[in-house]
Assembly symmetry: D2
Homo-oligomer: 368 residues x 4
């Protein structure tokens, strides 16, 4: 129940204010030489910074790998790793222990388990995405060794938008030239377009100054996928992606290819016509399918979007119910971002990589 | 790999032009008295009709239950049922055996399995949703016995839209008064609003006359759910819904609650403030959360939308690749709808019910 | 819960006196040409005969394959098949509806599900092994195409025994020469030794004349397995075999290699010394390991034994509790074998093949 | 693939000579107050001691719980824990790096993963049973709160035997009076009979003096189980037990109830006649069924035996193949027990508890 994936299975454990968080990856094949530094680098990308855009919580998030590797080589046994929780200022949360914050998981968690987890959001905290990102960093490396590349970037903060260029959907060389060779990933706003970065940052800062929060969108993009990954009925690759992306905190929507906009298109315009590129290989001229036809990859870039609602922890006073079911007014203390999407970029990227790798392994079983 | 659900697991088998299709439901608890007629009724709602809106294929789709019941009572063993394929005019498909239809699963299926399934779409056909609908009809009955009610209806055909009334999202009594007591479900366009039905039907007929197809949206709505169903990290109820809905043919998007529109909202506006309705119970004044907070139900109505791309089988000539990787022009024969959503309404409803029932059973395991 | 296997997953449905029994195989790779007659032949081997050794129930047990094949070729989608129940003389069971037969599943089934399944043993009946045997026949064919061969034979009826020759455990050629080329499988007592067949048959007939029943043992033997199948910790191949064999009705014990006799051996005698057979390949001189070391196959023959208790349905009067918890004396009517093992031979063989095939597929995932 | 259990799922990670070993338990219900000291106590029972009977390796095996508890209370999220490896004298293993030890997992592990894990047996080491024992200690506590009690004890070392008294199989009060109230568990030879302890110890010491090893048997015994746990076809409780027990290193056999001895019994003698103990409850007069009828518990004590082959690491010179496939003579260095069973007692107990708890949770899903 706390696992992602079927064949490359990641079980995430930990709570935001316990001793440590971590994950166990079961199903990583033996014989792959892992770059541990790349894992730490990807983790660092989701780490809360010290600037206006991120929470003030500052943790090294140093990963310790406990098993599954021998001299950096995967050996076929589970890869377990932990990240110690160090800066757990739970006093920030004492004041909200007795209330149910609006649109937060306090109420629902207590309804499910009959108790509230310890302060700080516990199991529902975005902190729990760190192990997932580390697992995703491993998946990315495995895929990259097969020339499959996974990216995520911000496409909207509130109404400030930057759309994936339409040519990227059919031409991965142009996309990779930009995505792989520029420094956008380390920007405060990981969006491949510099002027959009600035507009988006302005938007967040304005919202933050008012103690409010704002939603946004993250786009995902993968290329190099062989045709034939996924399944025709249950466990379509699109459904696996929808599941993975919708598992991220604050996500309220998912689409791929033409997405919601495709609902008002005609078939004659939406159909992706095949073209031969040589005697045996084919591509499509357009890619409204988002690289997935009938739930199975067709070899074209896979792309889509994930919708994030605004974070519920605003800094202005709100009406809340307490445990005696009485309405009181209260302001949420603690460290909270003004927008969920900047730190969620590596999380979307991680889920993309984990899902594609799982589909890749599943496909080893499709033919006798 | 061909199963839906974890504890109430539905494995769908069959191809559109083989002897029969069907499913096995594993995990149905013993001691529930099933109404078999209601299963057949729901199946009939997805059945291709003889009118301008549906395909000309006319099958009785008579369900035969083979196991799992004794005098109508569930006995704890798997419920297996089959639906015979009778009207399999595979000659319609002979002409397309040697080509890859654009935006269809021909190409991807062959890439995955190394062979093309028999004509007629085989495993990728929408016909395979029939067993799923029958399983959903069973799930609906189990849920209804706990006062949980599941609905789906069309909210858009192309640009012709009818939105779920905002008051339904917080007030299930008003919603049920309309949804449970009117005849909209048996209409050609299953939309709760009669004038919208007419506009949508006009839209489809116009498209069909031109041999083209159009996309659309289906809304889902469930009420009566107890608070506490779902999970805080992996297997969020929202992720399970996203997976289920994205498993439906032609689906390109999923959202719940505020959905994509929520990405441009501020937290102060988006937060759903709790209100006490008596000394122990609470509800929220708004419901942008779509009944799900932190992946767990909060007792409010669960609602959202599913986006369908236009069907790829248009009746006008198209460029296609043949097996020799040469481009030819061809017109697709056979029976195809002009819009996927009218017949998909009971499918969305079925996936909604199956997902909620699975979460309901999962919750029996949450407390010691 | 009603499935066998992880990657080649067989879900068995049906009850002994319902309309049909059957199974769905999910995970059969595409592109294998199946011999349907061989399936029926293996089914016929477990069919109740008309002689003194089997029950009087006579059913054709004709398999109908509903999906997953196209012109005899597997296409990657689930293989579903049914076997109609025809000769359901449920009146035989009316008299025992109200009592709990000793050492039968009546009492425990009712405790589990809160109701008794329909007469005739329902879900617990040995009849439910027929779909499993059919699935096993498919698994056997897939394995045979990789030169992996699976056998089962009787090694004891009561105290009448015939042991697997020790040379077979290290020399599959000798074993196959006998197992594959003689007619022992179609004998009333499927034991490779003719004189043992006769002694065993005498034993059963004597028991049957007294209205009593007797237990026995079945040996399994597989050869051609590549080294490296299984897993070192959980899901050892030995554990998967133990699970499969212990799922058979009336089984009370399982052992492989030296088995229980190995508990009193010294390590110096038990160790299987490797010998080189050429520059790159090795075998062991003895095979107390039963082909499995550390839960993983070593390329040597896999062998072991399954212990069956006597069937509980004896024909003499017994003390039984009725539903009012009162002790009454009663004689069980209906058709019952005097010994479970003759008809269980193809069942053991089926479970052996299913387990090895599952391990074979699992191994496609072990290396990057 | 590295998990035990379906609803109370234990994923074990780590290798014997890496930084740490541990496990994640997914599916532990919320709201149970855990006694951490009892976990450590059970771990200590499998710890290598300093006496003639155990290996010389001396590790504190201190468990650190990282998640899933809040003030000792389970909170519904995964319980992760680690045990650091401290005393890893891998130089002992350097000398065997290049050879395949007879009847050890060296050869098969390399065949599976294409590489040999680091020295010391790596993943195949008995050290990996420590996390399983800790998980079992948790399962035992949960079961004990429902009055279900789990025991394991040695019943044979070589040919020195002590059998479970026949009256224990029908009378749990007598059994518990002895098992729960005497100090046999902390003995060097955890067998409930003191004189048998002494004979068994003599047997081991004699074997050890000759540098040889010997096999043995462990009995398991559980009482307090409600009737109705298990399943009638796949996943019989007996099959789940067979799987769990056969997952233990060196296990070559499993039986329950009458076991292999039952194969030569007649049905008239083997049948367990029910007797009413009051107006609504029943028991059986004998218990050849081992508490399991048709794969489902009948409320009587569950008991059986597990067969262990002798440990393959003997201290005398043996013929081994090296990596060049050449035969050399070599003596295995390092710390190894002369008999696997003394330290395996808590492991059998742990698997018993984990299996019964899983069945207990599964049964929450059997009735509507």
């Amino acid at each position: 129940m706390n696992s992602f994936g079927q064949l490359f299975r990641v079980t995430v454990f930990g709570e935001s204010h316990g001793p440590a968080i971590g994950a166990v990856i079961d199903g990583c094949p033996a014989g792959f030489e892992l770059n541990s530094e790349a894992i730490q680098e990807m983790l660092d990308r989701r780490r809360p910074g010290g600037n206006a855009l991120g929470t003030a919580r500052n943790e090294a998030d140093q990963i310790e790998i406990l098993s599954g590797l021998s001299n950096g080589m995967t050996i076929g046994s589970p890869i377990a790793f932990i990240i110690r929780n160090r800066d757990t200022r739970s006093q920030d949360y004492n004041s909200i222990k007795e209330v149910f914050r609006p649109s937060h998981a306090d109420f629902t968690y207590e309804a499910k388990y009959g108790l509230r987890e310890q302060s700080g959001g516990g199991r529902s905290s975005a902190r729990l995405t760190a192990p997932l990102v580390a697992a995703g960093a491993i998946a990315k490396q495995l895929l990259a060794s097969k020339n499959i590349h996974c990216y995520a970037y911000i496409s909207a903060i509130g109404n400030t938008r930057w759309e994936t260029p339409i040519e990227w959907t059919t031409d991965e060389k142009t996309a990779l030239a930009h995505l792989a060779n520029t420094n956008w990933q380390s920007a405060k706003i990981p969006c491949p377009n510099e002027s959009a970065q600035q507009s988006m940052q302005n938007c967040i800062e304005e919202i933050a100054q008012n103690g409010d929060t704002i939603g946004g969108e993250i786009s995902f993009y993968a290329c190099g996928m062989p045709a034939g990954l996924g399944a025709p009925l249950a466990n379509k690759l699109s459904a696996q992606l929808a599941h993975a992306m919708s598992s991220i905190n604050a996500v309220h929507g998912f689409e791929f290819g033409s997405g919601f906009a495709g609902t008002s298109m005609k078939g004659s315009a939406h159909n992706d016509v095949f073209t031969a590129i040589d005697e045996t290989q084919a591509r499509t001229a357009s890619n409204y399918s988002g690289g997935l036809q009938g739930g199975i990859s067709n070899g074209m870039p896979i792309y889509g979007k994930v919708a994030f609602k605004p974070i519920s922890s605003i800094r202005t006073p709100q009406q809340m119910l307490n445990k005696d079911n009485q309405l009181i007014e209260k302001t949420i203390e603690g460290r909270h971002d003004a927008c969920p999407v900047p730190r969620a970029v590596p999380i979307v990227e991680a889920h993309l990589a984990l899902t594609l790798l799982d589909a890749y392994l599943q496909n080893r079983l499709s033919k006798w």
